[in-house]
Symmetry: C2
Subunit: 196 residues, 2 copies
Amino acid sequence: MQPGRTAGQRAGLTRETVLRAARELLAEGGLTALSMRALAGRLDVAPNALYSHVANKTALIDDLLDDVLAGVEAPAPDTGAPVTRLHQLMASTYTVLLAHPDLVPLYLSRQGARGPHAQRLGNIAAALLRRAGVPEPAASEALRVLIVYTIGFAAFTSHLPEGAGTEHQPGAAELHDNFGRGLGWLLTGIQRSRPS
Amino acid sequence: MQPGRTAGQRAGLTRETVLRAARELLAEGGLTALSMRALAGRLDVAPNALYSHVANKTALIDDLLDDVLAGVEAPAPDTGAPVTRLHQLMASTYTVLLAHPDLVPLYLSRQGARGPHAQRLGNIAAALLRRAGVPEPAASEALRVLIVYTIGFAAFTSHLPEGAGTEHQPGAAELHDNFGRGLGWLLTGIQRSRPS
DNA sequence: ACCTGAACACCGTTCAAGT
DNA sequence: ACCTGAACACCGTTCAAGT
């Protein structure tokens, strides 16, 4: 019997409540705070109760990863050049990723980009590359390069050392600028590879 | 008393023997196989004996990370254009990183690039950017972009899904090509940003 | 200085059992 | 179907004690 519940009453866990609690744990204490046992503790259930709603910890995290990408806003269609909109899309992704610093390193190591939201973003970017006149197979390669660069830079930025933002140690603002400049270089190079 | 040693004899651990055993463990079973307890077991000592030679697991891994970078070969000086040599340097780094797939994701999350070998590579790349005519502060930004791109792509490549190399799933060879193409785009963009 | 025994404070996951 | 108790097989690290 757990506090907050009288005898015989079920915990009433849901897949959604589990995921929500996981996000809270992550927001409060980072990745190290997210253990199955801590998660169970927060929900006032035994650790193994979670396995009725989630296959395992890996599957749980995969869901969290894709959920984050839901926050990326696709640029308004038919406004500005395709390359400009590509820049906006990747910059928005970068910003959203940095709002969840602890998760970022996981995107690169896992297959990661296979959830529905990741696919949506991939399709948008692919369409923009086509519109920009980049032919296959360069477009597929460019897509992968843009994704890797964005996630990689976010992962790099996500764990700033203590004395960041002072002296020659760049802070979050400088790194954001740096990201944008590199993204511009990349898009310039991709455009120049077009057949003219 | 441990097997292989008679009573009263010391284990005779060294910082070097510990690091070597760690590398072996890593090569045989990947990152999950590298635990302090497994490491102690392989060296026939109690787990806490390791702490006489290494501050903690994080410090141990930091050493391993920088050691890997010792394998990166600097391009021969005064041969070819600076940009070509930059390409070679980063491509060599990419190859060396992929020889130790399990460690790659750690480079991005940690400060990582603060060991002696990482500094050496950074200095070489910075000199090449200067020679290529890239002024400050663009050169510093370009350096960071190149590093992040290279490590990021290696991290992405390092954990290939099962069915890789078939159908539309790219294998290691395709990804290596993809990395090189993206590196070229990046260097093109960086060069185009020079004042002419 | 270097190593051990024992312990502390944890992990993820499984299995049989209860309702 | 959903949850618990108990257990399995682990972790990294610290502390006091021995040589």
